[in-house]
Each structure stands twice: as C-alpha cells, then as structure tokens.
Amino acid sequence: MAPMALSSQPWVEKYRPKQVKDVAHQDEVVRVLTNTLETANCPHMLFYGPPGTGKTTTALAIAHQLFGPELYKSRVLELNASDDRGINVVRTKIKDFAAVAVGSGQRQGYPCPPYKIIILDEADSMTEDAQNALRRTMETYSKVTRFFFICNYISRIIEPLASRCAKFRFKPLSDEIMSSRILHICREEGLDLDSEALSTLGSIAQGDLRRAITYLQSAARLFGSSISSKDLISVSGVIPEEVVQAFLAACKSNDFDLADKEVGSIIADGYPVSQMLSQLLEVIVSANDISDEQKARICKRLGEADKCLVDGADEYLQLLNVASHTMRAFSNMPEEFQFE
C-alpha cells in the first residue's frame, strides 16, 4: 500500500481550474481579473462569498498566471487557517516575506510583475489583533507586495483592511454550472452518475462546488464507480428528507411520546443532531403552513440548541427539547410554562 497514490489526490485539487478564465460562474470577477492580468497590475484584493465558489481557485490561478511555475514559490506566500496566524506570525513571517524587494523581468511568457503576492485564505478566522498588525505591513510594503484576502464573511474583516482592497463578491454556483462541472469530472474519472443522483448532489452541496466534488470522491471510494443518490447522502452525512419529515410530523401530531420515539430513533441511527438542526431550520423557514410567530419560536429554540451542542450538551436531550418546543409552537401553547 503506497502512502499517497495518485488516485488519492483530492479531486478538488486535481480539477481545480488553472486559469482565471476557467473559473466557473463568476463572470464579472473573471472579466476584471483578466484585465488585471493583461496589464500585470493589480490592487490588494478581497474575495468574499460562500464556500466552494472559487475564491481560492481564483487567487491561486492569478498567482500562477502572473508568475508561472518557476517564480511561484519565491513570489507567492499562501497561508490558510490551519497555519498559525497569530499576531506573531503576522509580525514576523508575513513581514519578512513582504519586505523582500523583487525585480521584474518577463519569463517564458508570464508577465512577472515586480511584486510578491501574499494569499491569506480564510482571513475571517484571523484575530482582530493580527488584522490590525497586518494593516501596517500592508501600507509599508505596498510597493512590493500585494495581499489577497479570502473570506466567507466580509463583516469579520476589519474595516481598515477591507477599505484598502478591491472587493469581489463570489456568488453561489447555479445548479447548471455545478452539474456541468460534476459531469465533467464523472467523465474523466469514469463514474456512472444517474440524473437523480446528480440533482441530489446539487441539493446537498448547496452551491458549494468543493463540497460536491468531495462528496463525489468519497462516494466513489466507498461505493465504486456506480453511484446512487442514496450513496451520496450517506457519504455526505446529510439526513434523508424523510427522516426530517417524520420528525416534523411527530411534532405536529402533538403526541409527546411519539416525538420522543422519533428522537430516539434519530439518535440510534446515528444522525448528527447539529446537521438535523440545520436541516430543520431550512424546512421550517421555507414552510408555508407555519405562521411567522411559530417560525420565530422554533428558530429561537433551534439556535439555542445549536449553541448547547457546541458546548457539548447531550444530543438526545437537546433534540427532544427542540421537539417539545416545536410541538408547543405548533399547537400554539403559551411559551411560558404553567407550573414554573
């Protein structure tokens, strides 16, 4: 057993677009950036948007296209959340890298502009202190260094940083684009994916292409080349729709013991409750037969339960509590308890 055979290379990496123009579905972004490539001049950039929409891909592609494989190592510094990015790293590692001056000079058809690029992936998980420290570095070395920030939530980037950057918002991918990418990979890998499975994949990935590809690869590993929608669901950890519906039905029945039983079986089947909560949230929010007040009551409880789970509370009790409150909301029982 070889440690890392080629087949185990994550498909996410394998099928990552190498060129900016190949980045799926982000037309405006691609247009602006292609322009940048032509002039070989670019500002600091901030890419934000939901996960799996091509932010990292874009940043890497630009870097590659600007410098080519040879200079890439010396000109580009990639840091993501799994690297230590405390304030010390910002003060030392980033600063050292940023401070080195570089010359220009074209090579093998790459523009090779006279600056370096620092890509900070998942920048929203950096502490505020670290971000503040970055601000100085950015100013000081802006002549020789460009920063690319990548984050999911722009609100978590401090304003001074955000205002120094050109901001690009990445939209969630549409189903068609996603399907076409997936089908492309299936063709390459020789997978057999029926249309039901394809649409399931689309819905569980929720516009996150990376997630879709990861699921696809996991399913392919576990179940071989012929993948059904059930396989995808079991790999993704998503709870089948009918389980969620059964839970809601039990809540609507206003029968506590039935709900208790339903909760028990969800736990016994090993479904992660945090996943259950987020799926419930979706169903509840989009349901038509639930009043706004009911929705509010249920959602409040969902949020509380989620927090408790993060703190390590017991899954069964939290889900049962959610069920109980949902039931009370459905039957419009008062929120206060009678015997308190």
Binding site: M4, S8, S82, L222, I267, G270, Q275, L317
Partner: protein, 354 residues
C-alpha cells in the same frame, strides 16, 4: 469468555449487522490507499467491531497482536514541560488511545504521539515505507484546540499515518476534521437485526429459543447490540431452558434510577431531595456517567407524567444537562434538575388536586 467477545466478528466478511458498510470498507482498503476515516454512531452499534475488522483486513493478523503500554510522555509545550502518563494499545501497525484521558492537555498528546509515530514507519509487503494507523477513541470529547491541532497534523503527516477516529456524535467534531475524513455512519442495529444476531448465537450455543423471547430482549436493549447480548447471556445463566415470558432482569443501576424516580414522585421536599442526593452519589461513585443518569431519570419520570408536564420537564432536563457540561460537579446540576422537577410537580399537584 463472554458471548459478546466470543461472537464478535473478527473479519469484515463475517459481519452480520453492518454487512453493507463492511463490504464497502473492504473495497476501500483493497484499493491502493486508505483515507482518514471517521466512524460515528451511538454506543453499542458496532463501531469498534468494524474498526478492528478493518485493521485486520488492512494489516492481516499482525493487527491483532496488541500490547498494552503505559507510557510516560514528556512534552515540551513552550514555556513548560508537561509530563503525563497515557495508556496506549498498540500493534506494529497501529496505536490506539483515548486522547481525552489526558484532560485539557489533550492537544499536546495528539500532536506528540503522531509525531512520534511518524518517526518509525513500518515497511509494507513490497518493501516500501508503509503507514501506521492511529486509532483515536472518543474524539468528540477532545477539546476544540486539540481538534484544531489534529487537523494540522493530519495534513502534515498524511504520508506516514492514517487516522481512524471513533466517536458517538459527529456534531462535536469540527467541520474541518469531518471534511478531511471519510465519514462512516454506523447506525444502531434495528430490533430485527438484533434478533437475528441473538438467534445466531443461540444456534452456535445450541440453545432452544422460544418464539418471541429474542424479540423481547431486543426491545429491552434500546437498540444496543452489546447490551442485548449481555442480557441474553444473563438470562441464560438465570434460567435455562428459556420460557417465552421469562423475566429479563434490568441493569442494577437502571433499576436504581427508577427507584429514585419513584422517590421523587412520592414526596417533594428538601428532605427528600437530600435522600435523592445520597442515592445519586451512589450512582456517581460507581462511575455511571452523569448525563446517562440524567437521561435515564428523565425517561423514568416522563413515563409517569401527564402530557403538559412532559414539555416542561424535558426542557429543564436539557437545560441542566447543558449546565452540567459547563460546570464542574455533576451532582449540583442533577440535583438542581430534581429540585426543579419537585417544584414543578408540587405546584402541578396543588393546581390539580388543590
């Protein structure tokens, strides 16, 4: 040897309950590589059995030759050196440990052991450097920091080691780890599957199984196969030949909890609360995990309650279980739940019967 151990399937092929998962796992490791794996599912569903069979599939019988080691670790954690002792179970191909035993120093342990493991890499059949498997139990009990550092080590040492993680609930495992592992959900066996296993054991032991008896054991087991087999064996010792309506003795601590529940229902006063506290202490001394006591107590109380009270009681149970996690001494919180229940129940009684 107990039946649970005696009839534990040793290879992936022999697995009855999760045969589908077993076959998939087989396919997975028969290929060139093996990704990191995360097994999750309720207790008694067969995670460990699957993992052990999987290890055997990967490494052959060598994986079964395990030795118990109590190894002291000296870890340099920046400003200070941490010394702790940790019990590990290891073969030439894998190491198993409960990182949560290390308490709040778990993150150092995880890093250090993986580093240590990476140094010595066994050779595989073709003379190439192979990898070792690190089996981590109860990863859901790892602290956030430890999980975070686990994620980094997973990437860093991916050439030399594979992780197999095992936990009860994947909710408590961070997304970052989950997304780097192949997730395997091991659901608890259904009643029918448990019956099937019991019948299989009965046949092997050449026991006469009256109709419906296995089903009764299964329904009492709460979909926990281990428990079903244990109580099956208890019944065998208790009385053989079996009769269809033979009593299946409950676990002593469960019986004790239901006694506590009826104590609570009978009288609601500080004095009674004190009595209940004494009984709770006894359960705690025997290392029954507090959250399990609380859950059992809740289910016993729910059995005896009217509809309207059930909501209220389950709300408080969830509330105090959460508090218990945040706090330090479980007894405070269980007791607070009992007190709250008494208070609610008393005012319910007054409202209903005056």
């Amino acid at each position: 040897m107990l039946w649970v151990d005696k009839y534990r399937p040793r290879t992936l092929d022999k697995i009855i309950v999760h045969d589908e998962i077993a076959q998939n796992l087989k396919k997975l490791v028969s290929e060139q590589d093996c990704p990191h794996l995360l097994f999750y599912g309720p207790p008694g569903s067969g995670k460990k059995t699957l993992i052990m069979a999987l290890l055997k599939q990967m490494f052959g019988p060598g994986a079964e030759k395990v030795k118990l080691e109590n190894k002291p670790w000296k870890i340099d954690a920046g400003s200070r050196t941490i010394e702790l002792e940790l019990t590990t179970l290891s073969s030439t191909h894998h190491i198993e440990l409960n990182p949560s035993d290390a308490g709040f120093q778990d993150r150092y342990i995880v890093q250090e052991i993986i580093k240590d493991m990476a140094k010595i890499r066994p050779l595989d059949a073709k003379g190439k450097k192979g990898f070792k498997v690190l089996l981590l139990n109860q990863v859901d009990k790892l602290s956030r920091e430890a999980q975070h550092s686990l994620r980094r080590t997973m990437e860093k040492y991916s050439a030399s080691c594979r992780l197999i993680l095992c936990c009860n609930s994947s909710s408590r495992v961070t997304e970052a780890i989950r997304s780097r592992c192949l997730n395997v959900r091991v659901n608890a066996p259904t009643h029918e599957q448990i019956v099937k296993v019991l019948e299989f054991i009965a046949k092997k032991e050449s026991l006469q199984l009256p109709p419906g008896f296995a089903a009764r054991i299964a329904s009492q087991s709460n979909r926990n196969l281990r428990r079903a087999i244990l109580s099956f064996e208890t019944c065998r010792v208790q009385q053989y030949p079996f009769t269809a309506n033979q009593a299946i003795s409950p676990l002593d601590w469960e019986q004790y909890v239901s006694e506590i529940a009826s104590d609570i229902m009978k009288e609601q006063s500080p004095k009674r609360l004190f009595l209940v506290r004494g009984k709770l202490y006894e359960l705690l001394v025997n290392c029954i995990p507090p959250e399990i006591i609380l859950k059992k107590l809740l289910s016993e109380l729910l059995k005896k309650l009217d509809f309207e009270l059930k909501h209220e009681v389950c709300h408080w149970a969830a509330y105090y279980e959460h508090k218990m996690r945040m706090g330090q001494k479980a007894i405070f919180h269980i007791e607070a739940f009992v007190a709250k229940f008494m208070s609610i129940y008393k005012s319910f009684l007054i409202a209903t019967f005056g």
